[in-house]
Symmetry: C2
Subunit: 189 residues, 2 copies
Amino acid sequence: MKPETRKDEIIITAARLFKEKGYSAVTMRDIAKAMGIKAASLYNHINSKQEILSNIIITLAEEFTKGMKIIMNSNNNSIDDLKNIVDLHVKITTNNAFGMASLNNDWMHLEDKLEYYLELRKNYENNFRQIIELGIKNNELVSADTNLILFSVLSTLRSLYIWIPNKEDLQNTNLASNLSKVLLNGIIK
Amino acid sequence: MKPETRKDEIIITAARLFKEKGYSAVTMRDIAKAMGIKAASLYNHINSKQEILSNIIITLAEEFTKGMKIIMNSNNNSIDDLKNIVDLHVKITTNNAFGMASLNNDWMHLEDKLEYYLELRKNYENNFRQIIELGIKNNELVSADTNLILFSVLSTLRSLYIWIPNKEDLQNTNLASNLSKVLLNGIIK
DNA sequence: AAACATAACTAACAAACGTTAGTTTAAATA
DNA sequence: TATTTAAACTAACGTTTGTTAGTTATGTTT
């Protein structure tokens, strides 16, 4: 996530501040100050505070959608699908941990894009659930409650943004495979 | 979490709204409206908005501290300790899922009580880590990275507040034991 | 009946909010 | 050199924010 345009710089700066205090607690003056300019100057590059938020969230949500589509279209078994989902979360979160905080905590402040976001999320979860159900059906996974497995795995993956920036000792090359072991060993048959 | 005093009613109402939109996005007028009164009337019962937040969060944080102390003082093996921690989270979250949202997402808006909260949280995580380390040392748990196990389990437990209110199909009597299986089977030797 | 307590109210405050309008500066292009 | 463009600026706007002060209504206790 390197800034290419001035608009990108604003979005990246905002995402960093949104992670620390949440969307509602960050003012346009906060964002401007972090960039060394005045709040009004931001409006040469963006149309509204809301636009910053939806840019952060929708970009990420679409990355997940795209990644999931590739996984669903592959002909792997369920366990490899799950490992690829872990990889997907680790990769996206490593590239943009700040943005992931907004995705997790500030999606309800989306206005125009709220409905679209909720649809993307619903579809993502449904695909995830489908992979788990198929794994149970094919006897690759233990037959625990599907929603409980989904909840457990997804909760951990969604919390990655909190831990990844703080832990260089968990080097990211191995993080995904180590995480897969801890997360999936309990449900693999 | 039944309201006993008018102050309790305010805190419970506020917690519900805080869960939906976050502390910063909820106004005193929002809270008042939800109770059918005017914002100024709230100040007959509480001293500030901040007081509402710290009441919600510190009460819960101290419940966790108390529960952890009991677990640490028992002479159980590590696996039973972990199961008891799962129970503790399920119990507290079931009783006050709204408040748990504030604990997870709005702790950074604590002012006077921030330092105290961070200390409670640090101690809790250290105790949790200690239990895992002892389990590995005693050959009860697989020797994966301690912090990775801690992160994985704690992420799921901290996200319970999102799922518990929506899922009556996961009946709470069995939730804790089912969750223990999914969460812990992967790390138990 | 008088005094008190509880819990609401109206009205207003200063500060902070997102945003707009119009202007200036400096660098790139013609 | 003249023109254009990018990106900053100052000043202000109407609104919303948390909060305070003083008042009123309704029961409860003396």
